[in-house]
Amino acid sequence: MNLLVPKFLKPSLYIAIILLGVLAPWYFYPIFLMKILCFALFAAAFNLLLGYTGLLSFGHAAFFGGSGYAAGFFMRNAGLSPELGIILATCFAICLGAAMGGLAIRRQGIYFSMITLALAQMFYFICLQAPITGGEDGFQGIPRGSLFGLIDLSNDLNLYYFVLLVVLFGFLLIARIVASPFGQVLKAIKENEPRAVSLGYDVNQFKFLVFVLSAALAGLAGSVQALVLGFETLSDVHWSMSGLVILMTLVGGVGTLIGPLIGALVIVVLEQRVGEIGNFLAKISSVQWFNSLGESVTIVTGLIFILCVMLFRKGLVGYFVKQK
């Protein structure tokens, strides 16, 4: 199946990436790596909608942050084990995805994006006001616990390999979905929706299902991130997070399997380093303003957005790997 990666690269490339993933925590700070992995899964889940079905959701933060809160609730307040917490939080994302998706697919194109954005904003306000989320203070103190009662997750390395496995599972699932007959119908919808309808496909049913799947995977990413960081904040349900995941996908390459991974890596590292880059620019150009770059990361993310849309619509992966 064509996953937009040339054949000769295929197995060796993926094995190399997985090997890198296995070795990375010995060289880099594991928490930072886990954050990248969670965002990679989040972006891949989003890409399932935008890249393979042509639906631009502007509300994916609701699933990411929402299931983060849900995971926190199940693990801290209900005292469940991490694996149960993550599964239940993913179920929460499925329910939320079914509700939002059911409404959003009633309109096409640009309206779909506006509706998902508006519904996610509604969810944001609910999170802001509901006492359970801790409002502006965030949801603190999510315990890591131990996996199946056997593996102690408070050890960063144990946690890292668990996260790596979960994310790998997510990516394999997405690859499987895209390559399946179901995925082919999604592609047909993306290319030409009226034609897919005239071929007899119940397009709305397909859209609904892929929306829920994408929500579930985004929720999986969010709940794992909550487990890793031990807290959940409002910024994860805010519209800027929905924008960030769009940017990651766009930078990496829309409609490619590893694009979201690369995009997440680039954007998370960039967000981390932008302050230092600003200080450096201030030093060499002696413009004091650059020092404030760290506090207003959106200047940089906005600029990358504009550049990607104007010049690099295929993203890094699309740019370096010629498509068939």
Partner: protein, 294 residues
């Protein structure tokens, strides 16, 4: 006199507040609809342009000593000029592509503009005082009418009416409507369509800036004031549909009023009521109240 245990004057003043918000929704959704009609672009940066309208007014007062009334005219022109640059430099190159790219570009622009202004002014509010001619309130007998709020509603409705009149009743408007229906044909008749697109975009963001100036004395001016508003306006646009100009205006005002009423009776839901209404409308009238699918 009391209704549901509330004094009439308290209720009426909340309704007026709702009407003020509603008139912002109306102008903003009107601009969005006009731009979308001709350019097929959903202008996410509409909120940023609203904010620019307010902040340019503040800057002009601060650095050049220009007063509110001058800026009411000047600020939309400045922001309109920025709109011309954006359209010529960036948006123009995306018309051939999927509509989504227009949304993404204007989203990126919003982040960029907000980020720059935030790095200069921070995110706390900048003070701006009501012009002295409009301070105070008028006693109507049954309620105190704050002069400035009344002015906002009056000015917004006038601008909405003028826009409606120009688009529906004048020759210029007929070009615009024809362009919305069939751009190729309009061009074949020798009308400079690219110029028309530029001016339409400039006009739309100019409208947003105008309401930004109106909002300056009553909403805290901050670089982030536009982005939450624009999401509500998106919901308004989904509810009303973008097919009709009068529809956009009525939906905007109506939702403002409903929001005002919610603030009185169930304040917890006042942030979410517009979105909830959107969900209900989607269930029963997916194309929107005044909409026709484009």
């Amino acid at each position: 006199m009391e209704i549901f245990g509330l004094s009439t004057s308290a209720l009426l003043s909340q309704l007026l507040l709702g009407l003020v918000n509603g008139s912002f929704y109306a102008i903003l959704s009107l601009g969005l609809a006009v731009i979308f009609g001709l350019l097929n672009v959903i202008n996410f940066s509409h909120g940023a342009m609203f904010m620019l309208g307010a902040i340019v007014t503040w800057m002009a007062g601060q650095y050049f000593g220009l007063n509110y009334w001058v800026m009411l005219l000047l600020s939309p022109l400045v922001v309109g000029a920025i709109g011309v640059v954006i359209e010529r430099l960036l948006l123009r190159h995306l018309y051939q592509l999927d509509h989504l790219y227009g949304l993404l570009l204007t989203f990126g622009l919003t982040l960029f503009i907000e980020g720059i202004l935030r790095s200069i002014y921070g995110s706390s509010g900048l003070p701006f005082s009501t012009p002295e001619q409009l301070t105070g309130a008028t006693d109507l007998g049954f309620m105190m009418l704050p002069n400035y709020r009344a002015w906002v509603v009056f000015a917004s409705l006038s601008v909405c009416f003028i826009t409606w009149y120009v688009i529906e009743k004048t020759k210029l408007g007929s070009y615009l409507r024809a362009g919305t229906e069939n751009p190729k044909l309009v061009q074949a008749f020798g009308i400079n369509f690219p110029l028309m697109m530029t001016l339409t975009y400039a006009f739309g963001v100019g409208l947003a800036a105008f309401s930004g100036v109106l909002a300056a004395p009553i909403i805290q001016i901050s670089p982030l004031m536009g982005s939450n508003l624009i999401i509500v306006v998106f919901a308004v646009v989904v509810i009303g549909g973008m097919g009709s100009i009068l529809g956009s205006i009525l939906t905007g005002l109506g939702l403002g009023l409903i929001e005002g009423l919610t603030k009185v009776f169930y304040p917890e839901a006042s942030n979410t009521v517009v979105f909830a209404i959107m969900a209900i409308v989607l269930l029963f009238r997916p194309a929107g109240l005044f909409g026709r699918e484009k």
